[in-house]
């Protein structure tokens, strides 16, 4: 199925989890300073494996970058 990962369409398996999307984004699951929002709502790290994605959902995987 298709989801929108960091603004780009991405193909993921049926019943893919947020943790799968994080891995696909290039972030390491254990990396400090990573956070995820699905459809604009924050998904706590403890729920990354349980939160199953649905077709077409928008996933944002962010981390710290240099900033003022």
């Amino acid at each position: 199925m298709k989801v929108v990962l960091n603004g780009k369409e991405a193909e993921v398996p049926e019943r893919a989890s947020v943790a799968d999307a994080v891995a696909l984004s290039g972030a390491a699951e254990t990396e400090r300073g990573v956070a995820v929002a699905v459809e604009g709502e924050v998904v706590p790290r403890a729920r990354w494996r349980d939160r199953v994605l649905a077709e077409g959902e928008s996933v944002e995987v962010v981390h710290a970058v240099q900033g003022g």
């Binding site: 290039g26 300073g33 962010v62 981390h63 710290a64 240099q66 900033g67």
Partner: protein
């Protein structure tokens, strides 16, 4: 005149967000040419608090700003840079809370990309929402004493008035307003944005600010490490000068040497 939030001492610690700090210089991590240069510059500032932004994970990116901050043992203050609405800023703050396990946020809600000036209405709404949600909110605000008061009344842990637009290096355009903000504030006042060189940072402290936040003036200087060290000295010098009690400004001269005992030589 020092703000009421200050301990009234020229040296020693200060309190921000319920924690004690030694350095009065908060540094932005944006704009450095490399992480290596950023690391050496941050060390030279002596800062304890540094800001970071949140952006999409880029698999091609080299190195990690988080690793540098952890290595230096600094406190990470996430910002909401790039947010134009209260809604976006609140969502970004919540992502930052999850990412860094911190409820501190440097709240930025800007009005347009030409001036990067705060959008006062959206800023106040975001501040109220985040305070209600338990955040320690440090808002980047206009140099407007009334807005600063409203942000303090909303429960913000500090107010961060701009000296001039972000990255402009134009210094403190309205020192009178900054003095009024300092005079009325009972939370720390941190001059944020517009610092161009060391004298601007010293002036901020002489005006009574409790701290200064600097990014571009260090990171985009020709020699960022040297400027970092200059800013550290400037903040300390300005802070000390404010308590040292400056002489009044006079129109005419006042000799420092007595005429008593002047020899007659003509």
């Amino acid at each position: 005149m020092p703000s009421k939030a200050d301990s009234g001492e020229a040296t020693g610690t200060w309190t921000l967000g319920g924690r004690e700090w030694t350095s009065r210089l908060i540094v932005g991590t944006g704009g450095f040419r490399s992480l290596e240069q950023m690391e050496r510059s941050l060390e030279a500032t002596g800062a304890e608090i540094v800001t970071v932004a949140l952006r999409r994970v880029d698999p091609a990116a080299q190195g990690s700003v988080t690793d540098v901050i952890d290595r230096l043992g600094l406190f990470t203050l996430p910002n909401t840079a790039g947010c134009y609405t209260a809604r976006d800023a609140v969502r970004t703050a919540k992502l930052a809370r999850e990412a860094f396990s911190t409820d501190w946020v440097k709240l930025e809600v800007i009005g347009d990309d030409r001036t990067l000036l705060p959008d006062a209405a959206e800023l106040l709404t975001a501040a109220e929402t985040l305070v209600a949600d338990g955040f320690t909110v440090l808002p980047y605000t206009n140099d407007d004493p009334i807005l600063a008061r409203r942000l303090e009344e909303a429960g913000c842990a500090a107010v961060m008035p701009l000296g001039s637009p972000i990255g402009s290096g134009a210094g403190i355009r309205n020192p009178y307003n900054v003095r009024i903000i300092v005079e009325q504030a009972s939370v720390p006042v941190i001059l944020d944005a517009g610092i161009g060189t060391a004298s601007d940072a010293a002036l901020a402290m002489e005006l009574g600010c409790d701290g200064v936040m600097i990014a571009s003036a260090i990171s985009r200087a020709a020699d960022p490490v040297l400027m970092a060290s200059a800013m550290r000295s400037a903040v300390a010098a300005g802070h000390a000068a404010r308590y040292a009690g400056r002489i009044p400004r006079r129109l005419h001269a006042q000799a420092s040497t007595s005429d008593e005992g002047l020899p007659e030589l003509s």
